[in-house]
C-alpha cells in the first residue's frame, strides 16, 4: 500500500519486504494510487458518499504483526474514502434486502505470526503493508440472520469481481469476513454485548460460524453468565469458536493523522470520471435479464453470478441468439462440461489447473441455430456439443463430417414405418382395437431404425397415417 513490494499469495517468508513495510528508521511511505482508485470505485458501486478530503491515521498498538508499532488506517465517520452507502441483496423470492454500509476505508494488512515449536513466535512480513480495504456495515445492524450474512458476502464478492478490485479468494484470505455478532431477547430493542469472529475462510464457515456463535451466546446467557466483549477464532475442523483476545477499547489506539502521509483531495470531475467507468453491476444485470428476457430469479441469478459467465451470455445474445435457449444451454450442458473438466470460458480465469475452453459464444450459437431450423434433433445436438468442446470445430463442420443430420425425408420415414408395422403385428392389432398409446412403441422402433436421426414429430404423423392404411 505504501511501498512497492509485490502483492502475492504464499511464497517463502520475508521475500517481499522492503525498508518501508519493515518499518526501518527513515523509510517514508507513499500511497499506491491504484489502491485509492479501487476503494473509490468500490465506494461508488456501494452507493457511498465520497470523502472529498481524506487522510490516513496511525492506529497505535504493540503487537509484532506490524513492525512499526502502528497500523496505517483511516479513522472517523466521514474521513474514510467512502461512507453512508448501502448494498441491495436480492433474495430468492425476487425481493431486495438493503444492507447499510457505514464506511469503507483503506489501510495496510498485517504480517503473519506463527508459533514456533522451539519457542517464541516467527513473523513473516510478506503480507504486511498489502493494501486492505475494509467495508463496515451499519450499526444497529441490518443483517439479522446467518443466511443474510452469507448472502451479503456473496453479493459483495460478486461486485468486487465485477469491479476487478479483488480476486475474491476467501481460501487465500484475499477476501475476509469478520462478523460482529450479538443477540437480544425476542421483541427487545437493545442488543447484547457483541463478539467478533475471525478465521472464516469460506461462505460456509461464515454461515456456520455465526450460527455457532449465536447458539453459544444464548447458552451463556441462559446459564446465567455474561457475554464477554472479545475476539474469537473459528476452527473449521471442529466447527467451534475459541476466545482469542479481549477487545481493547477504541481510545486505547490513540489514532492520529500520519504526518508522513500527505492528505488526499478529490475533485468532482475525478470522482465522476471514476463513476463513468463502473461496469453494469450484478443487481442491475439481474433485473435487466428478468425484465428483457423474461428470466426467472434463478436463471438470472446463475447468469449474473459471475461477470465472465454473464459476458459469454451477452455476446451470444449480441450475435443474435435466442436468450432463453442460449442461457439454457449455458446453464445445463456447458456448465456441466466445465464442471467435469475444470475448464473455464475466459482467459482471465485460466491458470495452471484451469484450461481455457475451446468453446465461444459463436460456437454455441451455431449449434442452437441447427436445432432451431430442424437440421438436428436435441439428442444429436448434445453429441455435437461434446464433439465441439473437444475439437473446437463449429457445429456445422462437425455435422458435415458426420452422419448426424436429422432425417425429414417422407419417403424414407414411410418405408421405416411400413417395415415396423410388418414386424410388429401384435402392437398393431392392439392399436386397431383402440389401444391408441401403443403408437409410442411403434414410433420408438422407427427412431431406433434411424439411429435417432428421424424427425420424431414427422414419424408420429406418418406412423398414424400408415396405421390407418394397414
Amino acid at each position: 500500500m505504501f511501498c512497492r513490494c509485490e502483492v502475492a499469495f504464499g511464497g517463502e517468508p520475508n521475500t517481499r519486504v522492503c525498508p518501508v513495510c519493515l518499518g526501518l528508521p527513515g523509510a517514508l511511505p507513499v500511497p499506491n494510487k491504484k489502491a485509492i482508485e479501487f476503494v473509490l470505485r468500490t465506494a461508488l458501486a456501494l452507493n457511498c458518499k465520497i470523502a472529498m478530503r481524506s487522510v490516513f491515521h496511525r492506529k497505535n498498538y504493540f503487537y509484532p504483526d506490524l513492525p512499526k508499532g502502528f497500523q496505517v488506517s483511516q479513522y472517523g465517520e466521514t474521513n474514510p474514502l467512502g461512507y453512508h452507502g448501502f448494498l441491495d441483496v436480492p433474495n430468492a423470492e425476487g425481493g431486495i434486502k438493503r444492507i447499510g454500509i457505514r464506511r469503507i476505508h483503506l489501510e495496510e494488512d498485517t504480517g503473519k505470526l506463527m508459533h514456533l515449536p522451539s519457542g517464541g513466535s516467527g513473523v513473516d512480513y510478506n503480507r504486511a503493508g498489502v493494501p486492505l480495504m475494509e467495508v463496515v456495515t451499519d450499526f444497529p445492524p441490518d443483517i439479522n440472520t446467518p443466511d443474510e450474512a452469507r448472502e451479503y458476502m456473496v453479493q459483495l464478492r460478486q461486485i468486487l469481481l465485477y469491479l476487478g478490485v479483488c480476486d475474491g479468494k476467501m481460501e487465500e484470505g484475499s477476501m475476509r469476513c469478520e462478523p460482529n455478532i450479538s443477540i437480544r431477547l425476542e421483541g427487545a430493542e437493545e442488543l447484547g454485548t457483541k463478539t467478533e469472529l475471525k478465521n472464516l475462510n469460506s461462505f460456509r464457515s461464515v454461515q456456520l460460524g455465526i450460527q455457532f456463535e449465536t447458539r453459544r451466546q444464548i447458552a451463556v446467557l441462559e446459564s446465567g453468565g455474561k457475554v464477554a466483549q472479545e475476539t474469537r477464532g473459528w476452527n473449521d475442523a471442529t466447527e467451534t469458536s475459541f476466545a482469542m483476545r479481549l477487545k481493547e477499547s477504541e481510545n486505547d489506539y490513540r489514532y492520529f493523522e500520519d504526518p508522513d502521509l500527505i492528505p488526499m483531495e478529490f475533485t468532482e470531475e475525478y470522482i465522476e470520471s471514476l463513476r463513468a467507468t463502473l461496469p453494469e453491476l450484478p443487481l442491475a444485470k439481474y433485473r435487466r435479464y428478468m425484465a428483457d428476457y423474461g428470466m426467472t430469479t434463478k436463471e438470472a441469478g446463475v447468469l449474473t453470478g459471475d461477470k465472465h459467465w454473464a459476458g459469454f451470455f451477452e455476446q451470444g445474445v449480441a450475435l443474435g441468439a435466442d436468450p432463453k435457449l442460449f442461457s439454457n444451454w449455458m446453464n445445463s450442458e456447458l456448465a456441466k462440461y466445465l464442471n467435469e473438466t475444470g475448464q473455464v470460458i475466459h482467459a482471465d480465469l485460466a491458470d495452471d489447473h484451469h484450461a481455457l475452453s475451446k468453446i465461444t459464444p459463436n460456437h454455441l450459437l451455431g449449434l442452437i441455430v441447427l436445432i432451431q431450423d430442424g437440421t438436428i434433433s436435441g439428442k444429436t445436438a448434445k453429441d455435437i456439443f461434446r464433439e465441439m468442446l473437444v475439437s473446437g470445430d463449429q457445429a456445422s463442420g462437425i455435422l458435415a463430417k458426420s452422419n448426424l443430420t436429422q432425417i425429414s425425408d417422407d419417403e424414407q420415414i414411410k418405408a421405416w414405418c411400413k417395415e415396423v408395422i410388418q414386424n410388429n403385428p401384435d402392437p398393431v392389432a392392439k392399436y386397431k382395437s383402440g389401444v391408441i398409446n401403443v403408437i409410442g412403441f411403434l414410433v420408438g422402433q422407427v427412431m431406433k431404425q434411424s439411429q435417432g436421426r428421424a424427425n420424431a414429430q414427422l414419424v408420429q404423423e406418418l406412423m398414424k397415417a400408415e396405421l390407418e392404411n394397414a
Binding site: 512497492r4 519493515l22 507513499v30 499506491n32 504493540f62 505470526l113 506463527m114 514456533l116 516467527g122 504526518p259
Partner: protein, 96 residues
Amino acid sequence: MAISFDEVQHVARLARLELSNSELLIFQSELNALLGHFSDLNEIDVTGILPKPHAVSMHNVWADDIAEVGLTREYALRNAPRSRAGLFVVPTIIEE
C-alpha cells in the same frame, strides 16, 4: 483540561513505560504545564477556518502501481536479534 494521575498512568501503560509513582507525578505536572500553553490557543477565534491535517500545503502525493524488488531475505533479517527458517523471531505473545 488538567490531566489526572490515572490518565498519565494509563498512557504510560499503553506506551509500555514502567514509571514509579514519583515519576508519574513529575510527568503529570510537566504534561499539565505543556497543556496549559495549548489552552492559550482556545482564545483564538477559528470560525470559518477548516482544520488543516498537515503542515505542508500539498495533496495527492501518490506512486504508480508498479512492483519493485525490495530487500533480500538475508539482508532483511541481518539486524534481527533472532531469526529462524526465514522468520523474525519474537518472544511468545501473551495476551493481556
